[in-house]
Symmetry: C2
């Protein structure tokens, strides 16, 4: 049973904690999600997670390790959750140690966008590559990097924060005072607000619910000029940060995932055009712009895959 | 004689080719510079370089290797100069092979900004670091990266082009169509032009020669408000790209060299302030903003050091 390489992948989100059994590139079993907000801080939530893991192990006795993807800053080496953006009470929590004590299994803990990048690199759109940049477009904008065939974590495990990179040195102020932060322009809510503003300025007073990225895709596919223009703007803003990544790292691929990426050709068409008109040959020659292979399961798969490689490298 | 680790470092510039004998962090001997423009293309210049190398070896018989820093794109693995920005005729030239044949010595060829970064990493301000970003501010703006204790070269050896990164997704068009390219704002000539414009708009019609970065430093030190404001602007623009590097790579140091960096506190003061007000804790904790140790000799020293490590790693 140990040879099939089965691990538990945990995708810890602000709304729910999703726990699955991962084998290769597949989530072969799911536990019912745990509602994050039902628990007051890390201790009771940890108990619920350990119980769920035990339940899953009854049917999957070959589980070798646990990988956890967290929505915030993690000390990857120590497995300590330093701070979570949208979940109160998680501050300097030694999740690796505690989850390992609670389950008897080896544990790795990483940032969720790093897990997504890892999944794409090892099993997805970036398989076999030495240099890639992965970005995930959702409520927030996150990312992960591979350089010289290694994950890039940086001096304090913060690397890959593409959503905080700037598109305008005099632009909108981001969460950390950073002017022009990409997330302030193309986060889910920011796109919805920009769409609402654009429609309202033309006398079209549709609700915010009709201005989500998904609605905006539908409208653009039907030829709505406002929606089409918005996708072009989003693509231009995204291209700016991705272009910076290219000039800096000269990657083989930009891998784009998350909900907003579901816009497909509406986003990828103008994005590709904006990128390739702003790079020189050595940067274009090497470059592919690819949709991510994994959707919602990227975090679980990437976390579990890292956990497996940590026990049997 | 082989143990002292002596190599020849060549800093190939648009104006002159500087050739020195490098031991440790020092250039212990210099040949007279060769005027680049006196030679019609790579072949005759190669002959002149080989002759100079032979002359130097008479007094330095222990020379083990040659390192060359080139102002443009180089295939580092093959040692082929793909293209030089300001020197005509250098296109797909196999400099490593030809220089090695001409001298009988092992040769490495790299981009000049990578050589500068390498010198700072191995012997300069970034000694012992695992993650750093080096930038050189002169006629152009170049850079080099160390991640996970390795040089970052990327898929086609183009990595580290900090001067092409954008500060404004709708900004000035760079050499490659890239909107907002930093080099268009803080290259030597661009600073001089911006200063001239600022003075002229206030009825001060001083010459371009009185608006160079060096003149601008002098004026600012004397309290000239126009010059002081210009340095603040330059620092803000530079901070934007360096901040992007931090969010992406979470480095331990930003190392700043080149002529413009001679402005010292006029630049480093507002730069440090702009950077630290736009980063979150894990990025600030790890970060030092440092002047480069090496000046004009960085290219020679970095090229020679790489060459030495390639023969005796």
């Amino acid at each position: 049973m140990t040879n099939d390489g089965t691990a538990i992948g945990i995708d810890f989100g602000g709304t729910s904690v999703k726990i699955g059994v991962v084998r290769g590139a597949e989530v072969v079993d799911h536990a019912p999600p745990i509602a994050t907000q039902d628990f007051d801080g890390p201790e009771p939530l940890l108990v619920a997670i350990c119980r769920t893991v035990e339940d899953l192990r009854i049917h999957h006795p070959g589980i070798l390790a646990i990988g956890v993807g967290m929505p915030g800053f993690v000390d990857f080496e120590q497995g300590v959750v330093r701070n979570l953006t949208n979940v109160p009470g998680w501050h300097e929590f030694p999740l690796k140690t505690r989850l390992s004590q609670g389950t008897g299994l080896p544990v790795i803990v990483d940032n969720d966008a790093n897990c997504m990048a890892y999944a794409e690199w090892k099993l997805g759109a970036g398989r076999g590559m030495q240099h890639l940049v992965a970005i995930t477009l959702g409520t927030g904008v996150g990312g992960g990097l591979v350089v010289n065939n290694q994950m890039v974590r940086g001096a304090r495990f913060g690397a890959g924060e593409l959503g905080q990179m700037s598109i305008d040195w005099k632009g909108l102020r981001g969460t950390y005072g950073n002017l022009g932060a990409l997330e302030e322009y193309i986060g889910n809510q920011e796109i919805t607000q920009a769409a609402s503003d654009a429609y309202h300025s033309r006398g079209d007073h549709r609700s915010l619910g009709d201005c989500t990225p998904a609605q905006l895709s539908r409208a653009a596919e039907e030829g709505d000029p406002v929606a089409l223009e918005l996708w072009n703007t989003i693509a231009g803003q995204l291209a700016n940060v991705l272009m910076d990544c290219c000039w800096l790292l000269n990657p083989e691929a930009l891998i784009i995932g998350g909900g907003v990426a579901k816009a497909g050709p509406l986003l990828f068409g103008p994005l590709q055009e904006a990128l390739f008109s702003q790079l020189s040959d050595p940067f274009k020659e090497a470059l592919q712009v690819l949709p991510a292979r994994f959707g919602n399961e990227a975090g679980m798969i990437g976390a579990a895959t890292q956990a497996l490689e940590s026990v049997a490298p």
